[in-house]
Amino acid sequence: MTKPIFREPSHFEERRRPYTFLPFRYLDLAGQKLLVNEVGEHLLVPDSTFEAFVSKKLQPDAVAYGDLKAKQMLLDGPPDVPIRMLATKYRTKRSFLSGFTRLHIFVVSLRCEHSCHYCQVSRVSTDKSRYDMTVETANRSLDLVFRSPAPEISIEFQGGEPFLNFDLIRHVVEEAERRIVVEPRQVQFVITTNLALVTDEILEFCRQHKILISTSLDGPASIHNTNRPRPGNDSHELTVRGIERARSILGYDQVSALMTTTKLTLDRPEEVVDEYVRLGFDHIVLRPLSPYGFAVKTKLKTGYDTDAYLRFYERTLAYVIEMNRGGRFFVEGFSQLLLTKILTPFATGYVDLQSPAGAGISAAVYNYDGDVYVSDEARMLAEMGDKTFRLGSVHSDTYEAMFGGELLRTLVESSCVESLPGCSDCALQTWCGSDPVENYAKQGNIIGHRPTSDFCHRNMSIIKHLLRLYHEGDDQLRHIFWSWVNNRPVAELVPGLEAIA
């Protein structure tokens, strides 16, 4: 063997130039500096390292130099490949934008037999003609749904209680399935229901059409029935019975539940989680009250401030993490969403936390009367008398006028965190989003004011909390967080010796 000439490491550093910066944002976190690049990759470094970096004094042999370069915040050579990598990752992170509107919410009836304190819109009424969507309205709404270019769409039935107008649901499902034969696309149906009125016949229809059920469960009976009154005070019992029935007919994983946090929940998070576990769920989503409708009117009764919610959130999360440490796979859904945004290169499909906001471009609401809104919150605002976010009516406006019109353009333009005051230089920007409708409802204009925004305070606080937990936690905690991101138990990702025994 002839010995070739091997070159020293220094030879391969000849291309190196004094470094410059690629876009990143930063803030103080846990006594260090958090740096986040344009595609959401982050790094925590000591303040002194940060100082050296930004004053261009960081030495190439420093570990942080390589770390910053590998995360494309530091550039010391030809830019072509790092820029191409960033571009690829940027496209991936923003892929939720391709396809345009994919979630289409049909409010098939405003009527409901519940009278929940926090409910924004429902009516206890037997006047079917007044508050139910008609076949004509539904057909015209479907015309618009099928104008959306998205190859995969979701049609979600909401209310009121949608099962009070089940015949219309049946019509929409069958009509949509007829249409996809000639206009091929994937359609997923979801019904958001309290399950009180569900019958085997309805569930059999859901099974045949692979319809998912999303129900409301606020915790054990003592909390649930107080939050969700109905005649007979039996909401909890009916919901639990409905969940079991739906699981047996549709399949266990076809049924999910959502909770709304009220003042009553704040001191009893463990009971709420335990109830979800008792009922065999492995997933809970902690949701704050939304600032609309009756929720605003009854604020004194059910409301609380953001700090109270954050205390509740952290306490519940701690309890759920302990449960996972004990070997029970159980996911908190909002953390799962944020961790996916923070830790993975992938996009998320959650329309309520994205930039530009999902209003209209990712989701649209077809109200019972044919009015079209950019979001559920926009519809609730309209029920309170303010139709600012009404795109138009299925009876009188064209798709182009509604989905290409001034309102939607303004909303998109005004909801990019990259340009919003207070967001544009925020390090957490790539993981966050904006909500122009909430800004308008609470702060009087769609741009909003970040220093006094509950939305900003809540999301920033939760993101920072998750980052602190992740970076200060032990291996097991990181395994748990990743098991949430992957939606798989830890043992499936990091097998123990029993896997080879």
Partner: protein, 400 residues
């Protein structure tokens, strides 16, 4: 260890190389040109007319024939029906395919555009594209039930059209054989090559592509080519775009272990589409011996980095394997990721392994490790959980 190349004594009319599939039983006259007849001791020799050649094992009677014939040594007595050998007039016998093995690899070329510090197959500058027709011929003879076939180099893409014709022929003749190609991926910086490979739509191909760091300077130094890192990165993107499955391979040594945890994160954030990541121990062969001073680190000394990288990849849901590491050198929590990765024909254990009950689960060593290996080789304490499994494996191995 199994000898894949051996020198015997050539006889008969032996003027050119002969490629043949081993048979010990008579085959149809019109198929004989594909076969090399193997004469075992005390076996009857049929009419040999038309065979590609004849191999005669020690103790067997040398048949009277004009065919190219080679008397071979005892080390080739493992040969059996379905294996493929290349016979040369000099008496050299190369075993190119063993039907019973999962470790069959085709050396596609000895040319390479990199010069890795630890290359176990040091490149040769000469044009050896004459191999392509030989390989295409070999593919005719390989058993269609072959589970996996490797293509190594050198850099196979330097064969140009020849490379693609090999992949196409594999798809046509061996559609159920997994094809595993070792390439540095650099030439796929040309998107037309990635597209061309993707369009072959081989049903089960995987490209094993090395990436030694998350920064260019380290990777370029290891492969001794400035700009190689950028080329490989672009190649990975081009291949992904055309749906070609990719495995990332990282050889661990003194130049690569430090940034291994960051490399794992880098792979996930930039190439989450990869099918598999292999973290591989160093083979003490080829250039490794020349550069040992710059490369050697006792594997026990990089376990924190190996552990962090493995966990990083695994918890992110990527398939990760640890190759070429003895179980006694890695922490038990990494045992589920350790594979028996060393090709059977060069796999050994060392005297320190005597009496170790973990052997049936252990990768053991490359034969070259006899020269240098971890100073910490000693039978590990067996966790109770694994005792039964190891006992049953041990019994199977003994029967074996």
């Amino acid at each position: 260890m199994i000898r894949l190349v051996s020198r015997g004594v050539a006889q008969g009319q032996f003027r050119d190389e002969r490629l043949g599939r081993i048979t010990t039983a008579a085959v149809d006259p019109d198929l004989r040109a594909d076969h090399a007849f193997l004469v075992r001791p005390a076996s009857a020799t049929p009419d040999l007319t038309g065979y590609a050649g004849v191999l005669v094992l020690p103790g067997a009677e040398v048949p009277t024939t004009d065919l190219p014939a080679t008397k071979v040594g005892e080390e080739l007595s493992y040969l059996s029906d379905g294996d493929v050998v290349l016979m040369t007039p000099s008496g050299r016998i190369s075993v190119l395919y063993r039907k019973s093995s999962r470790h069959n690899t085709i050396l596609s070329t000895e040319r390479c555009n990199s010069l890795c510090l630890m290359c176990s197959q040091p490149p040769q500058p000469e044009d050896d594209s004459y191999r392509v027709p030989q390989i295409l011929r070999l593919l005719d003879l390989i058993d269609t039930g072959c589970v996996e076939l490797g293509v190594s180099g050198g850099e196979p893409l330097l064969l140009g059209d020849g490379f693609f014709s090999i992949v196409e022929k594999c798809k046509r003749l061996l559609p159920s054989t997994a094809l595993h190609v070792l390439t540095n991926g650099r030439l796929f910086k040309d998107p037309t090559l990635a597209k061309r490979l993707g369009e072959i739509t081989h049903p089960d191909i995987m490209l094993g592509i090395p990436l030694y760091a998350d920064v260019d300077t380290v990777h370029d130094y290891v492969v001794q080519v400035q700009g190689a890192f950028d080329e490989t990165v672009v190649g990975l993107y081009n291949l992904a775009e055309h749906g070609v499955p990719i495995e990332i391979r990282v050889v661990l040594h003194a130049q690569t272990y430090r940034r291994l945890p960051q490399l794992a994160e880098y792979i996930y954030r930039n190439f989450p589409f990869v099918s598999h990541v292999a973290l591989m121990g160093l083979e003490m062969f080829g250039y490794t011996n020349i550069n040992l001073a710059d490369l050697w680190i006792d594997p026990v000394d990089y376990q924190p980095e190996l552990r962090a990288a493995t966990m990083t990849l695994a918890e992110r849901g990527l398939n990760v394997s640890i190759y070429n590491h003895q179980l006694c050198t890695i922490p038990q929590e990494l045992w589920p990721f350790a594979r028996q990765s060393i090709s059977d024909w060069k796999n050994i254990f060392v005297p320190e392994c005597e009496g170790c009950t973990a052997k049936p689960m252990c990768s053991g060593f490359f034969h070259s490790a006899a020269k240098r290996h971890s100073a910490h080789i000693t039978p590990p304490k067996i966790p109770a959980l694994l005792a039964d499994r190891l006992t049953s494996l041990g019994v199977e191995a003994a029967r074996g």
